[in-house]
Point group: C2
């Protein structure tokens, strides 16, 4: 039987990455790692939705520029976002004349995009494959909860959708960092119905995928500098570590969560932490990939997590299925035997 | 430069497929090609959305049964649909414990799913990769236009969203039909803003991809029994053939459109034809794949088309970007040199 995990014989390389953020993201602890900051939530446009499109457009352009690539060097662009019908992506990238594959994995979108880009590159189907995603606080609030003007109260378990985007490109040829392996997540639904507690809904999916990676590869948490989750926030991160503790898997000592990194939760009033496709994507593209490229980090697991609900089915009383896709990134290419 | 088109050295095989439909689809000209018909639009559930989930659940199960496969034989399931956050898929397949990749390509979803499943199989990343998608008239009306109870008038250019699903599985090992090649579509936006005229919005995307396939492969329409589009309907099909005429590419003589096939438009009052992810998917899985398997058809191009709008951005005055992914299916495996 095939496994959900693929370890690449010839690991493809992440040849460029870019992170774009908003004002609040700039004020967070990782503000200096963003390639571009936009103080205006409208991005000089008429609507928040158009603003979110600019996030993706900028991220793709900067990722191209950083590697001195032209649009036509890209064989395929893979992208998606949280908005209905993924319009942040499709309207954001429609001016790039690129073969385009739309994906939907909620806040796990960058994991899925990087995973697919790596497979297409390693499989010989693309010389350069790009992945992009974004989220925007104002569009997400309108769509998933309340329009901002409503002034709704946020419970302590709620998370703050990051106004941010990340883009990266993968190629069979290139230098560090390398994508050494990937695990395709399974949908996990433990019956959580509180759409204001996404961390609790997503933690079991993250744990399921991380455990599956260790089982499939026979590796250990100690093989990695960090095990990075997407946006579990305070509540979900605690649950993840507790589940791992029960199986005596030491995730706790090397766990980082992008949702807990991107903001200073005490100072920035974000309750349980950051969230949104752009949260994990910008931390990966702005911070982790450069750290791996420089060799300051050697090996990380990047497991962004997505809650696959919609407001319609939540209102119909449904629980929240989640998914987490995982990517093993390394500063070393490894041996062909692996 | 890499091309948007991949012609496989070792074409993977479509080892099973299943089509599920509703009452109206059963009454259409291809009713007998469905593996299962559900007369109840609720599928014995409480909501139309739950009904749509059943469509996908049934399609996956029947596709497995027809090939005597077990759930655990599947390495990855790729799926998406038209509903916000693709909940028809995620809630429909959550009970299958399968590695899952969510995609979004509107009504081009089966093309994208089959394309990706073929790449993952041909690339050695999956022994068996499945793709699934669906649409449901009642969920689509509620979400994209008006709840059914509103009793809105439909203009003559409008299409009827099929209540249908298709599922298939691809493997590096197997018999006919084979996936000989794929073309990843580019987003095309010609400025059409009428959400009741999807055919006109999508036709340029279909033509862009079909033309790119012929250019990349140096093949001709005469190499194919049929050039099949997804759901251009009457208006879009006419536009597609006119665009091809201008470039002296004879699509017209072998063009079929699933949206024009699935219903008898005179008798069934569907205006410009059928539409929805399930329209092209069920015609492919129920009719074309069995015809190719039997050898009654030798070669087809399958280019489903998707309109990438959302109601939110349509209300903001935006035009409708579209995409069309293409798959070349053949009853023959071809030579390794191709």
């Amino acid at each position: 039987m095939h496994k959900a995990t693929t370890v690449f014989h010839a690991p493809p390389s992440v040849i460029t990455s870019a992170a774009v953020g908003g004002k609040k993201e700039n004020e967070g602890p990782y503000g200096k790692y963003f390639d571009k900051i936009n103080d205006d939530p409208y991005f000089t446009r008429e609507t928040y939705e158009e603003g979110e499109c600019q996030l993706q457009k900028q991220a793709v352009r900067i990722a191209l520029e950083k590697a001195v690539l032209k649009e036509e060097d890209i064989d395929v662009l893979i992208g998606g976002d949280l908005l209905n019908q993924c319009v942040g992506t499709t309207y954001g990238v429609r001016d790039y004349n690129l073969p385009f594959l739309g994906i939907y994995a909620a806040c796990s979108t960058m994991s899925e995009g990087l995973l697919l880009a790596s497979m297409l590159a390693a499989g010989g189907f693309a010389d350069i494959a790009m992945a992009v995603t974004s989220s925007h606080f104002c569009t997400a609030e309108r769509q998933y909860r309340m329009p901002l003007n409503y002034g709704g109260q946020r419970p302590p378990t709620a998370q703050w959708t990051a106004t941010a985007a990340g883009a990266l490109a993968v190629s069979p040829k290139g230098s560090a960092p390398y994508v050494r392996g990937v695990t395709i997540g399974r949908i996990v639904d433990m019956g959580v119905t509180d759409a204001n507690n996404m961390g609790a809904a997503m933690a079991p999916a993250a744990y399921s995928t991380i455990r599956e990676f260790f089982r499939d590869t026979e590796m250990f948490p100690s093989d990695f500098d960090h095990i990075v989750t997407g946006d579990l926030g305070k509540v979900g991160s605690r649950l993840l570590c507790e589940m791992a503790d029960e199986d005596a898997i030491d995730i706790r000592s090397r766990h980082l969560d992008c949702g807990l990194m991107i903001y200073d939760s005490d100072r920035q009033d974000v309750h349980s932490g950051g969230s949104g496709c752009g949260c994990a994507a910008s931390m990966l593209c702005g911070y982790f990939i450069p750290e791996l490229k420089s060799g300051r980090l050697k090996n990380i697991l990047f497991a962004a997590t997505g809650a696959l609900l919609s407001p319609t089915v939540s209102q119909q009383g449904e629980s929240i299925p989640s998914v987490s896709h995982l990517v093993w990134l390394s500063s070393e290419k490894g041996s062909a035997e692996q």
